[in-house]
Amino acid sequence: MIRPTRLAGGIMVIALVLAAVALPLASPAAVLAAGSLALFLLWRGWRFEQDLTAAAASLAVIREVDRMILRQGAVVTVRVRADLAVPAGIEVRVRDLPPAVAAGEGVLCEPGKNATYTVRLMAPGETSFGGCVLSASDAFFACDLTCRRFDNPHLRVFPVGTPEAGRGIGIRGEDTEVDRKAALTGQGVRGFRPYQLGDDPRQVDWKVTARRGTLYVRELAGLESGAPLIAVDLPAPGGGDPAAFAQFSMAVYGAVEEAIRSREGCSLLVVAGGEVVRFLPRTLASHEALTALGGLAPLEPRTPLYRTPGPAALAARARMNGRGVVPEERAFREQFSGVLSAFAAESPANFAAAVRAALGRAETSEVRLYSLLPAGDKSHLVQLTREAKVRGMRVVLRSPAGAGTIPGIDAVEVL
């Protein structure tokens, strides 16, 4: 936003003082002085805005990095040059914005001169630069303009420890470079649903259609309004495949970065068994989200559940009526409902209550649940899903191929 400098502030004060003097004294010269100072500031603001627009329109950023495919935590050297036409009377500087997942600051560069800096990429996934900030100022006004269109080049960051074919030693020796494309290419398609009249025929997914025997269309990510809740189910250590976990963490980081880049933001809920490990409501700051994810390592659940459907499922069972069934079953259902209702208040459900509070604060319409669905009890995921469904939220599960599903899920996507 355009902001006045100290000199412009001083001129405003003089104009106000002159106006306060001029009106009671009815002095035409003081009226002219007060009015023309205010007019002068408006004219200067208008000129500054025009100059800024011209500078922004002429801006071209050339950015080069020493590597575009690298490992998590690797150091990248960035060389950047910003060229623009600077109108007379204003000073312009450009500050490069490194990727959101990078540790390190961008540099200020003078127009037409090369600048070099290094950043360390801390999270896996596909990432790009944040653009640049055009800082312009003259004697009266200043403005910082964030230009997001200069986000090239795009970088691919692989998680630490993922074995890949075709790897080699990076230029610094401590990093490993990979030149093979990963299976995960992005978060573009959110899910699939049966074709409805009026759907765009270009969105028909022919592979799913052929598999299911009826028309299915793709639902693209980002078409739902509001920030999604990304729920991450951390597996227990020891039992899983490291490559699958690396792919899982890459998908989670990718989803978080995509949500933040789309300017919707997201909420984050990290669970392990029947425990909420971390919760971050509605954030647009990538460093906050990455801190909340905290490196994504397997975690031993401290409060494991076993076949615990949760209060939402029990309440649904308690509401079952006996209409349309034989009299014996009706009597059984009435008795069962009575027992469930009587014990509902006596059995605390801490995990369900924590999830309910998190869903309430997230204010979302969609929950994206990331889980490896390991063997064993999945009560916590069932509870999470049911709590979301009670609030009318859509639940999309992202899990490895062939891992199965859990009841109540709206769509399953393969990691």
Partner: protein
């Protein structure tokens, strides 16, 4: 500080403008004082023309012209802020 020196120059100039009393002399002095504050005088005749028009309105309508100018300037600053908002959106990758 150059900005402080310019501000002091402007304060002195405004005292002269108010002390002049006569509208035409005040207009000429004001144009000279504000030109001295500027580094680049690109587009300055536009401001001189606007100030001259304002002086004419003061001559015709008196001090009440200041209130009319305040309303007009309020609208002008609003348009300026909206233009800046559109520029910021365009730069951020949205529609202009």
């Amino acid at each position: 500080m150059p900005a402080d020196r310019r501000f002091l120059l402007l304060c002195g100039g405004e005292i002269l403008v108010v002390a002049a009393g006569d509208l035409v002399v005040a207009l000429v002095l004001q144009v000279i004082v504000l030109a001295a504050v500027l580094k680049s005088r690109r587009g300055y005749p536009v401001f001189v023309l606007a100030a001259g028009l304002f002086a004419g309105v003061i001559y015709a309508a008196g001090s009440i012209a200041l209130l009319g100018l305040a309303v007009a300037l309020g609208c002008g600053y609003l348009v300026l802020v909206l233009r800046n908002y559109r520029l910021a959106r365009w730069a951020a990758g949205g529609d202009a």
